[in-house]
Amino acid sequence: MHAHPRHTSRYSIFPRGFFTPKGQMQRTIISIDPRQTDTAKLADIHLMLNQGHDYELFDAFRTVLRGYDIPDEVAGIKKEVIVKSAEIMKKAKFCMIFFGMGCTHTDGHNHNIDAAISLTRDLNNHTKASIMAMRGHYNITGPGQVWSWQFGFPYCIDLSKGTHAHMNPGETSSIDLAMRDEVDCFVNVGTDAGAHFPIPAVKHLKKHPFITVDPNFCMASEISDLHIPVRIAGVDEPGVVYRMDNVPIQFRSVIKGLPGVPSDEELFDLVYERMCELTKTEPVWLAAKADRKYPQNPAVS
């Protein structure tokens, strides 16, 4: 309800679907949350589990689905409620599991999702089931897609070897690099490292040049040595944004950008061009940009 305000109305709970013309009336909502959230209040069943016991609960669902017995209480939830919930999932025509950081950033981390994915797989032996991450930050799916097709990895990409890309979360994430003091220049693009990074990591980064590329003032821009404002895709710049379910949406610009403010793409082209000048190399990949000139008002056929 709050983290993704449009989600319930456009995608998950309320919309009228092709096979669910009555919208919410034809859906059963189960909320798994230790807190009494507004989403939980909307739900038909609220499983108010003990904090940090997600893994056990998913495991209990799987055990029940496979026809085995479980203890009278698991993760603070009564057996009858677990059995009833599992039965609802099994009997649903289509079961969709959405998960967020409450699940991935508590004890157990990825193992919680491992259990939830396994539950999804098991459910597919009975009905149709799917699972999707509720990700934050607008176009976070976009770079994941682009980097996957360019390098084969969605994030934490180390290109410093020059020969091939390398990824190892825990070693090659920006926070890992900062904490080990391996960075002598930090460029913060489209996120707010000032607000989201641990303080010790930011302290390391601040020892060296700190650059922020962002349309807005933010905590990172406040502590930056250089803040470059850019246009916003979908506001004063058209572009493709990948929706949380990976569907590409072609955004249009709705207002004219301020004069002199470049788009991200234009800015990085300028930086690349200058780098090629300094290293005396041919800027061959600029051409890729040149022939992608965005029309001011992209025609819709």
Binding site: R10, Y11, G17, F18, F19, K93, F94, R121, N124, H126, T127, K128, S130, G144, Q145, V146, S148, W149, Q150, F151, G152, F153, P154, L159, G162, T163, H164, A165, M167, P238, V240, Y242, N246, V247, P248, I249, Q250, T281, E282, V284, W285, A287, A288, D291, R292, K293, Y294, P295, P298, A299, V300, S301
Partner: protein, 575 residues
């Protein structure tokens, strides 16, 4: 396009479009096209003792788009098999890093195809809703020209029109979708089965009824064949049949192929077939289970050989660790239940679905070896090599980088026997196949038919790709093979096709001695249909987008800037 003139001198030219079987002749190039002659200032490339062919044409590979990218994303381990590190020289040339084996990055895809002398690749399954993503990836794939086939076989509009027998409306919808997605032709994957997968079900015979939509695979296939010819598209309907990959499916395969009988081809692009049946290897299985699993390649090819209205591609198993991916959602679920490796499923609203599962074709497993033999048998039983094309259904039966290996097996009985001898269950494989009884070894001319002239004609582009006649695209591969004195060691054949001695794409030298020199002049090829407005279909589309889609109609068409190097084939349909 470079205006520089080039002349390739003294090579053995193998060009089925002009019946050239190793004739020693020069190939002249100007302004990106093959020409009759060039001036004396033309750059000379000495091809003496080497074989010269047109750029390769791949009729079916999964190289760009959401499911390919899921494969890359969920298989970091595939990067361990990349096999290339960017050299200092490549870095200096401006070449990008390369990664991946069965699901290579876009850059590696372009470079690897170019190294093998391929000029055109068809992305075989484009979910329409995701078409902007496919075009973004195609843009990031250097050198090679590409097109993409949108999937129609489980599309809710199509099923609705075909249930009512409305061919004209189906055709109008297809025309609209090709135009807005910048698509090339009509792909049909597991007709009805993928829609049934919405309920966790499948369609395993031609007359299984699709739940809710109340139509059948038979109606969908026949309807799409007719709609395709109504429009007169360059390519025919391109089908991945029902019941893929299951023992005993060959009878259904032949029955489905027979649906092409009685449908007449109608087009201005020189195409002769009305149906292209893809990765036939997966559809030529006998037996009642994995125990008595056997080859029915002979039976299937006997039918294909008789029916000129059909073209096929092989889908050769290459005995590698690879990644399977298809719009056949129920099949991937089934495969996952067999091998228990990781599985991704996606359902695309109103249109299609897809699944991805890694797969290891282990030479120590009997079934994999039989699959390997079936793929080769198909080509070796073929009578008209212009109607059967070499594919691995990349990456489903193996990565496209194994084409040279498949060529080696097709050209050398010795190479085939060496593989057969290495199998743990050799006797069982021999019992279930006939490959060991086949002496046929394909010639370079036949390989050129399977990889050049044949697929180009099948796609309706025989005047552009697949040959070396003046006026055609100057896509020319030079391979280190002496036509008159072929090596006795089959490994040398594989090596020659893996790394072209020289590859010229659109009149520019892009590969020399296997090293990529340029990012080339890639083009995205699509079909634009001009036909009178169909008010019924227009209303249906508007209504459906207002009510059912999660994307609005104005945001659906792929914008021009996403495909900045267009090569558009115009099709005019009279009222």
């Amino acid at each position: 396009m470079t205006s520089g003139e080039i002349i390739i001198k003294g090579g053995f030219v193998v060009d089925p479009t002009r019946k050239m079987e190793g004739d020693i002749t020069d190939i002249a190039i100007k302004d990106g096209k093959i020409v009759d002659k060039v001036s004396s200032s033309a750059k000379v490339i000495d091809a003496k003792g080497k074989t010269v062919m047109a750029g390769g044409v791949d009729v079916h590979a999964h190289v760009a788009g959401p499911k390919v990218n899921v494969g890359r994303l969920f298989r970091p381990e595939d990067k361990l098999l990349s096999g290339v590190c960017r050299s200092a020289m490549a870095q200096k040339n401006g070449a990008r890093m390369e990664s991946g084996f069965s699901i290579p990055s876009t850059f590696k895809t372009g470079y690897d195809y170019a190294r093998m002398g391929y000029a055109f690749v068809m992305e075989a399954a484009m979910p329409p809703l995701y078409s902007p993503h496919i075009h973004e990836e195609i843009h990031d794939t250097p050198i090679i020209d590409e097109g993409a086939l949108p999937v129609f076989g489980n599309n809710w509009f199509v099923m609705d029109y075909l249930k009512k027998g409305e061919i004209e409306n189906t055709a109008a919808y297809i025309a609209w979708l090709l135009n807005v997605t910048k698509g090339f032709g009509v792909k049909c994957v597991n007709p009805g089965g993928t829609a049934a997968w919405g309920w966790g079900l499948n369609c395993l015979s031609l007359d299984d009824v699709v739940p809710y939509f109340d139509t059948t695979p038979r109606e969908i296939i026949t309807g799409l064949l007719k709609a395709n010819e109504y429009l007169g598209l360059p390519h025919s309907m391109h089908i991945h049949q029902n019941n893929l990959g299951n023992p005993g499916n060959y009878q259904l395969t032949i029955d489905s192929l027979k649906l092409a009988e009685g449908i007449k081809t109608k087009n201005k692009f020189g195409r002769e077939q009305v149906m292209h049946s893809t990765h036939l290897q997966f559809h030529s299985y006998g037996g009642t289970g994995w125990g008595d699993f056997e080859s029915k390649a002979k039976e299937v090819m006997d039918y294909v050989n008789k029916n000129k209205a059909i073209t096929v591609d092989t889908g050769n198993v290459t005995l590698d660790e690879t990644t399977t991916m298809t719009a056949d959602g129920p099949f991937e679920h089934h495969l996952h239940s067999l091998n228990h490796l990781k599985w991704v499923n996606v359902d695309v609203e109103m249109e299609t679905a897809a699944g991805v599962v890694p797969y290891v074709y282990d030479p120590n497993i009997k079934v994999c070896d039989i699959q390997w033999a079936i793929g080769l048998e198909l080509a070796l039983y073929a009578k008209d090599m212009n109607r059967i094309f070499l594919t691995t259904d990349h990456p489903n039966a193996g990565p496209f980088t194994r084409y040279p290996r498949v060529i080696k097996w097709l050209m050398s009985k010795k190479a085939r026997e060496a593989v057969l001898d290495s199998f743990k269950h050799k006797d069982k494989v021999i019992d279930a196949t006939t490959l060991h009884t086949i002496d046929r070894e394909l010639t370079l001319y036949e390989i050129a038919q399977m990889t050049r002239s044949g697929p180009a004609k099948c796609l309706g582009m025989s005047n552009i790709y697949g040959g070396l006649a003046p006026g055609m695209n100057a896509d020319v591969g030079i391979f280190d093979l002496n036509y008159k004195n072929m090596p006795s060691d089959p490994e040398k054949i594989e090596k020659a096709f893996q790394r072209a001695a020289c590859f010229i794409k659109s009149g520019e030298i892009v590969v020399k001695d296997g090293e990529v020199l340029s990012r080339g002049h890639k083009k995205t090829v699509w079909v634009h249909v001009n036909m009178p407005e169909n008010l019924q279909v227009k209303r249906d589309i508007t209504q459906s987008f207002t009510k059912d889609y999660t994307v609005s109609l104005v945001n659906y068409p792929v914008r021009d800037y996403l495909a900045p190097h267009p090569f558009v084939l115009e099709v005019d349909v009279e009222a």
